[in-house]
Structure formats: C-alpha cells, structure tokens
C-alpha cells in the first residue's frame, strides 16, 4: 500500500498543526512583535497548508482514497476506542481546497484591512486558531475528532465576533453566537451518544460499514441520530430555528465575516450532513426535514434581506438564505450539488464580504447603505469585483452561482416527495436573492452620493427606523476608525493593493468557479459531481436534458426579473420603495424587524429561562436549599455554642454551683435506683 511518504507528500497532521504553531507564536509573543512580523507568521502559517493541499491535489489520482492517517490512540476504555485519525477522500479534498485557499486569500486581505487596528496580533492569532480547528473538523476521521474541530471553530468564531470587546454589542453578539451554537452542539453530542450506544464506535468508516452491512436498518434509531445531527447542523450553519446568531455575528471585523461567517465555518453543518449521508440516506423522514428547513430558511432569510439597510446585514441574511439552498440540496439527497454550491458560495460570498469591507474601508467605517451611493467611479476595482459576485449570487449565467443554484433547483424539481413545491420556493428565493443583491449593488455604487442627506433620511422614516438607526449610529461611533480621519464624502479612496489582490482572485473565481459543474444538458461534464461520485454514489434522479434546459432558462429569467425589479426600484424610480413601504407598511415593518424572531425567542425561551433561573433555581434551590442548609448548619453550631459559652462565666462560685447540682442529680438518680433502669435498657 502506498502512503503519502512514498509520494513525497507531507503527513496530513501538518495541515492543522502549522496554523496552530502560528497561533501559538502570535498568541504568546505577538504583542511584542512588529506588525510585519505578525502578519508574516500568520500568512506563512496559512500558506504552508495551502501549498500542501495544492500538492496533494496534484497527486490526488495516485493516492489510494479514502486514505486514513492514524497518529495514535486518543481514548481507549473497555470496548470503546477513538483515535487521532485524519482522513483524505474526495469530499475532504474539496473542503481542504476551499478552506485553505479562501482562508489564505482572506488572511492576505486582513493584513490590509486590519493594518490600523488595535490588537493586530490578537486578530491574526485567532484567525490561525480558526484555521487549525477548521482543518481538524474537515480532516477528522471520527465523530469525536470532528466534534473537537466543531467546538473549536465555535470558540474561534466567538473570539472574533467579540474582537472589539470594548463594544457592548460585539460582546453580546459573541455571547449570543456561542450560546445558540451550544444548543446545536447539544444535538451533536446526543447523536454521538446514540452512535456509541448502537455501533460501539465513532469512526466514520466503522459506523458507515455497519450501516451498509445491514440494509434492513431503516429509520428508527438512525432517524433519531440523523435528527440530532440536523440539530447540530442547524446551529452551526445558521438554519431555522437557530439562525439568529449569524446576523448579529456581523459585529466582528469584516474579514472574519467573510472567512468564518460566510465561506467556511457556517458550511460545516452542510459538510457534516454530506459526510454522514450514509445515515441520512436511511432516514427519508430526516431528509424531508432537512429539505423543508433548507427551503424555509432560504425563503425566510431572503425576505428579511430585502429591507435591511446595513450592508453587512444584507449579506448576513443572504448567507443564511444560501445555506438554506445547501440544506435543500442535502434534503433532496443531492449532496454533490450541495457541496458544489458550498464551493461557489465560498467564492462569491467571501468576495461579497471582502468587497463590502473594501467599501466600508473606503467610507471610513460607514455601513449604512442609505448614505452610500455613487461609488462606482470612486472605487472601480471594488465595484467590478463586487459586480462579479452579485451576478454570481443572483444566478446569472455563466457566473459561478448559476450552475450550482441551478443544479440544486433541478435536483429539487426531480425529487419525488413534494419536489415541485421545494423547487418553487427555491425559485422565488432566487428572485428575492437577485432583487436584494442588485438593491445593494445600486444603493452602493449608483446614483449620487447620499452622504449629505443622512439627516433628512433619518427624519423621513424616523418612527420606522428609530430602533435600527440608534444601533447604526452606535455602531458607527464605536466602529474603530481605520486610521482615516476624513468624512467619507470627500476622501473616498480605493483600498490598498494587498486588499484588492484577493478581491480580484475571488472575482475571477466567482466568474469561472461554476464551470467545474456544468451539467450534461449544457454539454458539460459536471466534473465536481463525478469527482464526488465515489462518496455519494451517482446522482439520484436523472431527468431529460430538455427539462434541465427549461429549468435553467426559467431560473435565469427569474434572476433577470429580480435584477429588473431592483433596477426599477433603486435606479429608475428611486422614490418607489418609500411609497411601497408606506402602502405595505405592516409587511415592511415586519421584515425590517426581522419578523421579531429575536423578540419571540426572548419571550418564549430567554424570558422563562431567566425567570426559572432567577427565582426557581437561584431563589429557591440555590439560596433556599443549598445556601440554607449550609447556613442552618453554621447557625446551629453558633447558637448552641453561644448557649454553652454562658456556662463558662469565670465566676468560680457558679462553677461550684454547677458542680454541686450535678452531684445532687447523681445522688438523686442513684437513690431512686434510676441507674438500674437505665442500665437495664
């Protein structure tokens, strides 16, 4: 058997360990190092894994997959056994390319974006820590090691969301992300317990081999395991009902939003479902749940995205919505198209965030789209790269998003159970996606700069925007200045080259990234699907080429319709949105307030939890029972002691009195023969 050593490849464990070394170096002594050294360490610590992955990719054909590298035993107790084992197969390969590739680009971008920030070293240390855990998650060969990565990326996410920890909203957003993710992780844990109980192992190969050997296992405990895994996935991948943390996570620096909250970490849930598809395939019910969650989230988040005014929040809801598409793909058992969309999404959504960061950078920290506008000529490179990303996410051919989204919609259409409905929801979402992305595009880059009308605008919708505005103003004030003291109307400037480089590369990928999955109907070979076929098996249903082409045309027309609507609303007749908002005031307010889901959770979950904690658990159990017992014991001893202490008065005659009393009692007892009774007892 050949091993990586024979092929002159480095061992797999180096992939996560190198970024970890970067984290340790920057984390321990980064504070005392000059900024160029810090960024050099961080970049090298991500460049090495990227080069290694590229090298593996070039030799991939000669590696016997799945290739498992066992470093050593981790846990060995009785019948249960878990190893530090890494695995390389087609799915891992694709994830590795995305994580290290996009990760490295975003590291480069961060060098420029964070150049003037406090805690530069801290930022890069966390970023490398994230790479370490993400690579562990992707490479893990068993559920337990995957869980380590899973928790670790959550930690890195928490640390980076709360990077501006002096800002209250950022600290709260970090906490929220962490707590909401805990709920999902709870599901993952329960799934692992069930796996151990039923299979006695957590190794992927072990579990999947047993499932494959028993074709009679359908549903039942596999459904339970799968449902718990889905709960874990909804937490990490921000799906209904646990999506609420992702929009708030935008408090973190923009490169973080791009890397963790768009391109890589949030796709971990999709990766996990794809990785454990053997279990999911045996539980059609769970697949249905996944599909419904995906479709509902895609639509729901897209509608919220329609009216948001913060550029990063639009992108955040867009991410939630696109992750919904990936779930939808998994739910109709078309894992390859889900992974395909994951890849293209990593390109264009990473790019959208980086470009948005470039816009924010150019405007000196401004995030409100209502005061942007007319930036097309001022920051042309950002504009063109963002245009590529907008076209890609809207699903216009031949950009990347078109092929992956089209594949998902096609597979959903062919799905036997309610596929047409899922397809239709996906199609409507595609329209909404095109609309809000072009809305962002027009508001940011076209028309006149609205920086001067800020005040007027705020008065215009005072009642409506009161809440949103107060947060925005606070954010604007708290947003650390990027070292440019100017107001944004005057000194708008293009970002430095170190930021533009990643933008251009991702821009190119957003254009051509989809070509790896051109379907047969368009005379392509769908390379990604055939590449992943050894893992997922052949793609399920096959329709006719004609149907595929028809659906492609329909979705293209839908995207164009979305573009056209946005064009009318935000370019041709800019007064129209306000009018419509007046007419459909209820709907508008509902969307602007994000369906009040946060408030609903606050009333339904957080409030009761706080009440129970504060009064029942703290008031009754903790203060009453636990503290009460301790106090009672203490006070009893103290009181009894105080009573007995009076005997020692220091008065000799009272001692004498007690002595004679005692003697008298003894005498009486003896005399009346009571001792006899006592001793008889």
């Amino acid at each position: 058997m050949t091993s990586t050593a024979d092929l002159h490849l480095w061992p797999l464990w180096l992939l996560p360990v190198v970024p970890f070394a970067g984290f340790v170096a920057n984390g321990l002594i980064g504070r005392r190092l000059p900024k160029p050294v810090v960024s050099a360490i961080a970049l090298i610590a991500t460049l090495i894994p990227f080069l290694q992955v590229t090298n593996i990719w070039l030799h991939f054909k000669s590696i016997p997959v799945p290739y498992v590298e066992n470093i050593g035993t981790w846990i060995w107790t009785g019948a249960f056994h878990a190893d530090f084992a890494f695995q390389l197969d087609q799915l891992t390969m694709i994830m590795l390319l995305v994580v290290t590739g996009v990760g490295f680009l975003i590291h480069i971008y961060s060098v420029g974006y964070m150049a003037h920030e406090e805690g530069y070293w801290r930022f890069f240390a966390y970023l490398n820590l994230f790479m370490f855990f993400m690579l562990t998650l992707v490479l893990a060969e068993n559920f337990l090691l995957m869980f380590v990565g899973w928790e670790g990326v959550g930690l890195a996410s928490y640390l980076l969301i709360g990077f501006y920890y002096l800002k209250d909203s950022a600290a709260k957003a970090g906490k929220k992300a962490f707590v909401v993710n805990r709920i999902g992780d709870f599901g993952f844990l329960l799934a692992m317990f069930l796996l151990v109980a039923h299979f006695g192992t957590l190794s992927f190969s072990g579990v999947f081999a047993q499932v494959t050997q028993h074709p009679e296992w359908q549903g039942g405990f596999l459904t339970a395991i799968a449902l718990f895994l889905v709960l874990g996935a909804t937490g990490k991948s921000a799906q209904i009902p646990l999506y609420v943390w992702l929009p708030d996570a935008m408090e973190g620096p923009t490169p973080v939003s791009a890397l963790i909250h768009a391109a890589t970490m949030v796709t971990a849930g999709v990766y996990m479902i794809a990785r454990t598809h053997v279990i999911f395939d045996r539980s059609p019910f769970t697949l249905g749940v996944v599909a419904i969650i995906g479709a509902a989230t895609a639509f729901f988040a897209a509608t919220i995205g329609l009216v948001q005014t913060d550029i990063k929040r639009v992108l955040a809801y867009s991410t939630v919505s696109q992750l919904g598409y990936m779930f939808l793909a998994c739910g109709v058992a078309s894992y390859a198209s889900g992974i395909f969309h994951l890849v293209t999404h990593a390109f264009f959504k990473g790019l959208l965030f980086l470009a948005a960061g470039s816009v924010i950078h150019a405007l000196g920290g401004e995030q409100d789209m209502r005061v942007m506008g007319g930036l097309r000529t001022k920051i042309p490179i950002t504009f063109w790269t963002m245009t590529a990303a907008v076209f890609a996410i809207s699903g216009l051919p031949p950009f990347a998003g078109f092929f992956s989204k089209d594949e998902i919609l096609y597979q959903a259409f062919l799905s036997p159970n309610g596929g047409k409905i899922l397809w239709f929801i996906g199609l409507v979402t595609a329209f909404l996606t095109a609309f809000y992305m072009f809305r962002l595009w027009y508001l940011t880059f076209f028309g006149q700069s609205r920086a001067a009308d800020t005040h007027q605008l705020e008065q215009h919708g005072a009642a409506v925007h009161a809440r949103a505005d107060s947060t925005l103003v606070m954010e604007a004030e708290a947003e650390p200045d990027h070292g440019h003291g100017h107001g944004h109307a005057q000194g708008v400037h293009e970002s430095p080259r170190i930021m533009l480089g990643p933008l251009v590369i991702l821009g190119i990928l957003s254009v051509i990234g989809g070509w790896i999955g051109v379907p047969a109907a368009m005379h392509g070979h769908n390379e990604i699907a055939s590449f992943l076929a050894p893992i997922f098996g052949g793609e399920g249903a096959e329709g006719s080429n004609q149907l595929a082409l028809t659906l492609a045309v329909v979705s293209t027309l839908t995207a164009l319709a979305g573009w056209f609507t946005a064009h009318v609303f935000y370019y041709a007749k800019p007064e129209l949105p306000a009018k419509l908002a007046q007419q459909l005031r209820f709907v508008y307010l509902l969307l602007l307030n994000k369906y009040k889901v946060d408030e609903l959770y606050g009333v339904a979950v957080v409030g009761p939890l706080l009440l129970i904690s504060r009064y029942l658990l703290k008031g009754l159990i903790d203060t009453g029972v636990v503290e009460g017992t301790a106090y009672a014991a203490g006070y009893t001893a103290q009181g009894f002691g105080a009573l007995v202490a009076r005997i020692q008065s220091g008065n000799i005659r009272s001692y004498a009195g007690w002595l004679s009393l005692g003697a008298a009692v003894l005498l009486i007892v003896t005399y009346f023969g009571l001792t006899a009774h006592l001793s008889l007892r």
Binding site: S649, G650, N651, I652, R653, A656
Partner: protein
C-alpha cells in the same frame, strides 16, 4: 456502748452539707478554702466509721492519703491565694473572673 454507724454518717452528712453551703455562699477565698477542708474531713469521718464498722484497715489508710493530699493542696492553695491577693488586692472570688469567654 457501741455507737451505731448511722450517727457517724449523719454527722458526716451534716458537716459535708455545711461545707457545700459555705462553699457556695461565701465570697472570701480563704473561707471557701476552709469549707473545702470541711468537706474533705466529713468524707474522712465516713471512711473511718466504715473502717471501724467492717473491721477493715483500708479505710484508715485512705484517710491518711486524703490528709496528705489535703495538706499539699493547702500549701499550693494558700500560695495561689497570696499571689492573687498581691496582684488584685482582694480576696473576693466574684472579682476573680478573668477566665471567662
């Protein structure tokens, strides 16, 4: 004429009771001390009476021990009383109550 034993015992009980009462009532340390001697000797009386009654010599020997201990006690006790009087200028037992909580 043989005196019945209970005469001695009653006398002894009376002496002992007087001792206890004086011990409890009197405030002068020397008087208290004397009442202790009284109690000791009341007990001695019962020892001697029983020794005579049962024709056993051990009771008599006990008395000697008691007298030896009482003598030693008197020596130490008086030394303490003198020391107390030198420092506090009083022999009132109620005034000597430093040993309290």
């Amino acid at each position: 004429m043989v005196v019945p034993i209970y005469y001695y015992l009653i006398l002894s009980a009376i002496l002992f009771s007087i001792g206890v009462a004086a011990f409890l009532i009197k405030r002068n340390i020397i008087t208290v001390f004397m009442s202790i001697e009284l109690m000791l000797n009341a007990v001695n009386l019962t020892f001697v009476a029983f020794a005579h009654h049962w024709h056993q010599v051990s009771g008599q020997i006990f008395v000697f021990f008691v007298m030896v201990v009482a003598a030693a006690e008197a020596a130490v006790g008086l030394a303490i009383i003198i020391a107390v009087f030198r420092t506090r200028n009083t022999l009132n037992v109620d005034a000597v109550d430093l040993m309290k909580l």
